[in-house]
């Protein structure tokens, strides 16, 4: 039951859109799928129109068990459940700080759900915090969306450096290009350069920059529900097919 976390230090790179669309695709294949929204902004929860039932406190989230279980909600789609985010997750870091074994706390919280679900996706908050370290420790794969720009690549280097410093498994990282603009020479150039580096797993498929994806915020549903034959929708399908093979080897 692979746990796949969408993560990058930088925000606004297409994490949430990817988490929403990939978890939808997994569920469409009859795999029981859980999307955990750990970003206090709650964008993924918003896309699925799901609100947390009671104000789940970050301290009780970390205790796991029934409280978490009760907050899991069925999405509008078969086989896809959401654990919605709450504003109180902004305090997750504080609570983690006060706990023993803080770096592996999330693993314990998710452990009971690993048998129930065939795929677990996590939409993570940006920045490097104890929460993100937890996510990196817990997830089997860290899926990193990269905008092919110099700055974005620089932050990615920082992320790799962070993995090295903390002795985290760099092999968990799977990167792919997101918000790619065909006409921008710089995008094409950076993508070409990366194709020759092989210490990091890069997916060959990428997600284009697209107004159809941006519209998810208005439609509040996965792109396949309103623009199923768009280039962007097809790109997600290709990306999922490529990723699926990689993560099924677990």
């Amino acid at each position: 039951m692979p746990i796949i976390a969408l993560y990058h230090i930088k925000g606004g790179v297409g994490k949430t859109a990817t988490a929403v669309n990939l978890s939808y695709l997994a569920a469409q294949e009859d795999a029981k799928t859980l999307l955990i929204d750990l970003d206090p902004q709650g964008s993924a929860s918003f896309y699925f129109r799901v609100r947390p039932s009671k104000n789940l406190k970050s301290s009780s989230f970390l205790k796991g068990g029934k409280k978490v279980d009760k907050n899991i909600k069925g999405s509008d789609y078969e086989h896809l459940d959401i654990l919605p985010s709450t504003l109180s997750y902004r305090k997750l870091d504080l609570h983690l700080n006060s706990l023993k074994k803080a770096k592996i706390k999330l693993t314990q919280v998710l452990q009971p759900f690993e048998n129930e679900y065939q795929f677990i996706f996590i939409d993570s908050p940006p920045n490097i915090t104890l929460v993100s370290e937890n996510i990196i420790n817990t997830a089997d794969y860290i899926l990193v969306p990269l905008i092919p720009t110099t700055l974005s690549m620089l932050t990615f280097e920082k992320l790799q450096q962070f993995f090295k410093n903390r002795k985290l498994k760099e092999s968990k990282i799977i990167a792919f290009f997101s918000m790619v603009e065909k006409r921008k020479k710089l995008h094409q150039q950076i993508m070409k350069e990366v194709a020759h580096q092989n210490q990091i797993n890069y997916l060959t498929n990428h997600i284009p920059y697209s107004a159809d994806i941006e519209n998810m915020g208005i439609r509040r549903e996965p792109i396949f529900c309103y623009k199923p034959s768009s280039t962007a929708a097809k790109a997600y399908i290709m990306l999922w097919n490529e990723l699926k093979v990689l993560v099924s080897k677990l």
Binding site: F48, N71, K73, G74
Partner: protein, 511 residues
């Protein structure tokens, strides 16, 4: 998995009336109508149903649901097979594993086919989020290719985390006078077509009472067994699975055993005649059963051999399959022939007329007294023969013990309903352990013998099939070793059977 509740709706209502009503009170979204064709499956002896499941095929998808909640118990599986019969016809995965566990070697049989027209409706909250799924189902039963209207109902499906909304709409339906259907649709259909789930089991399931005469009790047992014999004939002819023949044979064997062991109940010459007729019938089916057992054992045989020798078994199994095909034809002929029909008809007529026949030595004694006497005698016989067996005793003595155990087993089963259930099942369990040991020993020796025979035939026919010769040799060696270890275990198994605690129960119940 989500919960499903089914509600009855008045005949005069249609989906439109209800959708109109619901939309007055709830925010809804309509989905397009879908049509589904479903076939329901179980084994002849209801193995899924008795474990609380039913299997539905919808085009190329298979669904395993709980009979109680109608909820899926396993992720549905897609299988590009039109007529799956056995668990091994399904693709690898937990679905297959579950079927394996429950079906074992029995085949799936289609029970009925229905067509469902589904109006699908979503109930939404203020975020336009689905909180309950509603389905109006018009169900048609397919009979002789025609779809006949059967019933209609509403199904509510929960969405995880929205229990409150679910309770709300349920309450609203109740206020409209729409009540929950207690039976799953598939049960209603079975009822309508006259099928009773769980009505067949190969177990001897008769209830006797102590004040019956021996003859009355015996006739109840024999009629039950005759029924089992008759029920299995169609399945043997159609060759649905191997267990029809097996159950058929067990019922005949039990019938013969009843005739020979419950002594002095019927006039001797009549008894002997039927015993003989049934023995002949049984004997004609021996070879087919043997072949079934070999073919069912194929995987076991292969596992006894190293990989490189396994292909050597193919010629053997090819030959067995061919022979089985022929043998099955023979048995179908036997079952269609006049002599079979006559035997069964006159047996049935005899059972129906026996009460008018003259009294015999034991016929009118109370069954409770005689059953005690028979069982205790059979038990003592087992103990006596078993006690004489040593590690060096010849196979013939083991064979004798096996026969005596069988007699005791049948008597315990015939009269089980006259004695405390718990104690009888304990005794049967103890005895079964001993019987399994002796049965394995015998089976292993029969298998070795027939392999040896096969080896002799191929040795003369094609001399260069070295791989096959080696494979068969390997099998014989492996079977021999298994047999040795089974033989070694006998002494201990028998000691356990003959221990004091067990003896005390026999003394208490039957002496």
């Amino acid at each position: 998995m989500s919960n499903i509740l089914t509600f009855k709706i008045p005949d005069s209502w249609n989906s439109q009336t209800i959708i109109a009503e619901i939309s007055k009170h709830f925010l809804i979204k309509k989905n397009p109508i879908v049509e589904q064709r479903q076939t329901c499956f179980d084994t002849f002896d209801w193995r899924l149903f008795t474990n609380g499941y039913y299997l539905i095929q919808e085009e190329e998808k298979y669904y395993l649901s709980s009979t109680k909640t109608e909820a899926l118990v396993e992720k549905p599986i897609g299988a590009l097979i039109t007529n799956p019969k056995f668990w091994w016809d399904f693709p690898e995965g937990t679905f297959k594993d579950m079927l394996k566990k429950y079906l074992d070697i029995r085949a799936l049989i289609p029970l009925f086919e229905i067509e469902i027209k589904v109006d699908r409706l979503l109930i939404l909250n203020n975020d336009q989020k689905t909180v309950v799924r509603v389905q109006f189902e018009n169900i048609y039963l397919i009979q002789q290719g025609r779809a006949n209207e059967f019933t209609h109902c509403i199904k509510l499906r929960t969405v995880r985390g929205y229990d409150q909304e679910f309770v709300e709409i349920k309450k609203w339906l109740n206020e409209l006078g729409i009540i929950q259907e207690t039976k799953a649709v598939f049960l209603l259909v079975l009822e309508a077509i006259g099928k009773k789930p769980g009505d067949y089991s190969s177990k001897l399931n008769v209830t006797l009472s102590p004040d019956m005469t021996v003859r009355e009790a015996t006739i109840i047992i024999l009629k039950y067994l005759l029924h089992i014999i008759q029920l299995n004939v169609a399945g043997i002819k159609e060759d649905i699975d191997t267990e029809f023949l097996h159950d058929f044979r067990v019922a005949i064997r039990r019938t013969r055993s009843t005739l020979s062991q419950i002594k002095g109940v019927f006039p001797k010459e009549i008894r002997d005649r039927f015993k003989n007729d049934l023995a002949v019938l049984q004997k004609t089916t021996n070879r087919l059963r043997d072949l079934d057992v070999y073919l069912l054992n194929k995987e076991n045989y292969q596992q006894m051999l190293p990989d490189h020798l396994r292909p050597g078994l193919e010629p053997l199994f090819d030959q067995l399959r061919l022979e089985r095909k022929e043998e099955h034809k023979n048995i179908v002929n036997v079952l269609c022939a006049n002599s079979y029909t006559k035997t069964i008809e006159s047996w049935e007529a005899f059972l129906n007329s026996i009460e008018e026949r003259p009294e015999t030595k034991n016929s009118h004694k109370p069954v409770i007294d005689l059953s005690r006497k028979f069982i205790f005698k059979a038990y003592n016989q087992v103990i006596q023969i078993g006690n004489q067996i040593r590690d060096y005793s010849p196979a013939s003595e083991l064979h004798q013990l096996r026969i005596e155990c069988k007699k005791l087993r049948y008597l315990l089963e015939f009269f089980a309903s006259l004695f405390p259930e718990q104690e009888i099942s304990l005794l049967v369990k103890q005895l079964k352990r001993l019987q399994d040991n002796l049965g394995d020993y015998n089976d292993l020796s029969v298998q070795q013998r027939s392999l040896k025979k096969y080896l002799e035939t191929i040795a003369s026919e094609y001399k260069d099939s070295q791989q096959t010769v080696a494979a068969i040799g390997g099998l014989i060696a492996s079977l021999f070793q298994q047999q040795q270890s089974v033989r070694k275990a006998l002494a201990q198994t028998f000691t356990e059977f003959s221990e004091q605690d067990n003896e005390k129960i026999y003394q208490k119940l039957f002496a």
